[in-house]
Amino acid sequence: MRAESPRRAGRVVSHVLLAAVALTFLYPLIFAVATALKPPGETFGSPGSLVGSELRWRNFADVFAYVPFERYIGNGVLVAGAGTLVVLAASALSAYAFAALRWRGRDGIFLVFLATMMVPQEVLVVPMFLLMQAFGWVDSYQALIFPWAFTAFGAFLLRQFFKSVPGELREAARLDGAGEVRVFLRVMLPLARPALGVLAVFTFIGYWNSFLWPLIMINDVNARGTVPLGLQLFFGQNGNQWHLVMAASVISILPTLLLLVALQKHLVKGIATAGLAGR
């Protein structure tokens, strides 16, 4: 017991410190929520003050009255959800080949994969637009989903995690007569759940926040527009609706936040907790 209490006190101190750090860190976000509740024309009044002349909860309702924001959220969830699935599938498959199989040309192709990450999107936009036009995909969901679904980011991330899975596990499965597909599905994927979760979250956010490409690709914003396009609608020819921009921004955090919370337990259930690490 006596040895316990200093450790316990240490834990409390650690948590109090952590809470302080988190609060400082989150201050800008608290500020963002407070700003979302300010009346129009007060967003920039006396910078630094948290509240305006009233707490205007109506701003959140006004977002949906001003533009069909719920539709942008729906479109965003659809595009980001579908895109995330494609990315997870393609990345996991290729990452397995890069991490666990030996084949000619592997390192060369991996290098090309990595190199493609280094090309800024701004450069690809016009050629990609022409390509989409050739496909007849302009103003479609698939144009928002597929062009950016085959990035090397996922392959690289999963490869790093696959590589830290002990080789003996695979060898053992192979000796049991399992084919590569079986090893992949039964051994690697379950072990890589945290990494897949991480990739899912990152990919979802990437799609969710993507702006330049949907802007250029989507003509009918109300039918297929995504959240960042919707946010831009509050910046008008006749001034900006800053209070609505802030309210809409706060709303737009929620879907990703929900996904993150939902995936939490997968993010931490790794090799260690699955009890497979005792080699």
Binding site: E42, F44, V112, L130, Q232, Q237, N238
Partner: protein, 425 residues
């Protein structure tokens, strides 16, 4: 092996692409319209729009076209205002531009080669001459206007009363303005909200001593003597602590935002914001012409309108559509919705009535605002811009702020802007 093959493949494909792009891209191909078997022509019309209300207004205009010409249908596509031109130029680059293009006078020169001149194809009767003039380039009418704007001085009536400063009125001078700005700069608030945006800043310089950044034959002259003098004066407002300097080069709407939020007691803004300033400000707003300098009060004028893209397969129908979209019926409708100051003289009164009805207790302010706009139109000149005006705007944001903060002399900053934007003007 694999790498080399991949590169070769990409290069080969790119070659094919270039060949096809040369045929179809760059606005030389036809796009933006189609005729169905019944003979009805559908034309794409691209326009900036934000709220649902705004879109509904535009849909109403599109319906007016079909009402007048049953064989023409207009298909509206919209983009957020800030990104409209990014989208439009990408579409032009890929040869997928709409038939009916919405255009602003400040952007006109960049798109001049891509628009079909409308002279002789559309009716130009009834427009305010200044509005037509603003959308004309090289003697050609490239678009027809639906609105017209001048720059005004917005001021905080309450602050003026409180400080015992006489309110600005028609004919007030630069000296009056400076004095007011200094007197109103108390208690952490500033008398004036500065700007580096083109219309907002350049109009003040123009009114001060007639300085113009662009010659009549559309060449940049940022480093000219009058420009240096005018900027020295303008930046002096910051040195004298009579004005709020923008917080960063990305704060394009600084002056007017600080004004509405009550941090600056005066700001320059366009006539398009009269309605929203009255609505959003928590104080009484007044309007006046820009302070008169050596040559009297002056302002730049701007207009927005609709033109026909080159490469539109049905240019005649598109010109007819533009005529309806900017016609008396459309203008009457937009004025009644309070969209913006109408380009047609006959409908301007209806706009004033809309603003008055919107907020009857501000009737006097509205009448004053409209009178100031009319003043501005009388002494106004269109701001003609170079092809690379986007780059010029960016340089103004980056370098004027250095002058305001005292990091760079007006001469040096203007010389930098001039030098760096010489390429591609």
């Amino acid at each position: 092996m694999h790498m080399r093959r991949g590169v070769l493949l990409a290069l080969g494909l790119a070659g094919v692409m270039v060949t096809t792009a040369c045929g179809g891209g760059g606005g030389t191909g036809t796009s933006g319209g189609a005729r169905d078997t019944g003979g009805t022509v559908t034309l794409d019309w691209e326009m900036w729009a934000g709220s649902e209300d705004e879109k509904a207004q535009l849909d109403h205009l599109a319906a007016l076209v079909t009402q007048k010409h049953p064989a023409i249908k207009v298909n509206l596509r919209t983009a957020p205002f800030n990104d409209y031109f990014t989208k439009l130029q990408t579409e032009f680059a890929a040869g997928k531009q709409p038939c009916v293009v919405s255009m602003q006078s400040l952007r006109l020169s960049a798109y001049a080669d891509l628009l079909e001149p409308l002279d002789g194809k559309a009716d130009v009767q009834g427009f305010a001459p200044a509005a037509l003039q603003a959308l004309k380039l090289g003697g050609k009418q490239l678009a027809l206007p639906y609105d017209l704007a001048s720059m005004l001085l917005y001021y905080n009536k309450d602050a003026f009363t409180k400080a015992g400063v006489a309110e600005p009125k028609s004919g007030w001078t630069v000296a009056d303005f400076e004095q007011a700005a200094k007197k109103l700069s108390t208690g952490g608030k500033a008398g004036f909200g500065m700007s580096f945006a083109d219309l907002h800043t350049l109009s003040m310089l123009l009114s001060y001593n007639g300085a113009q950044p662009v010659t009549p034959d559309v060449k940049l002259q940022f480093d000219s003597r009058p420009m240096v003098d005018a900027l020295t004066w303008y930046a002096g407002l910051a040195t004298a602590k009579a004005a709020l300097v923008p917080a960063s080069s990305s704060d394009v709407g600084w002056g007017e935002t600080q004004f509405v939020n009550g941090n600056a007691m005066m700001a320059v803004d366009g006539s398009w914001n009269i309605g929203s300033a009255l609505k959003d400000a928590k104080f009484a707003v007044g309007f006046a012409p820009l302070p008169a300098g050596s040559g009297g009060s002056k302002t730049y004028l701007a207009a927005s309108g609709f033109g026909v893209a080159k490469g539109c397969p049905y240019p005649a129908e598109a010109a007819q559509a533009v005529s309806v979209l900017t016609g008396p019926d459309a203008q009457a409708y937009l004025a009644g919705q309070g969209r913006s100051f109408p380009s047609r003289t006959d409908q301007q009164a209806a706009y004033e009535e809309f603003l008055v009805k919107q907020d009857p207790k501000n009737a006097e302010a509205v009448r004053g605002a409209i009178a100031s706009v009319k003043d501005g139109l009388a002494g106004g000149v269109p701001l003609f811009t170079t092809k690379n005006w986007d780059s010029v705007g960016k340089l103004m944001a980056q370098y004027l702020i250095r002058v305001y903060t005292g990091d760079q002399s007006p001469q040096d900053a203007l010389a930098t802007i001039q030098q760096q934007s010489a390429r591609g003007q």
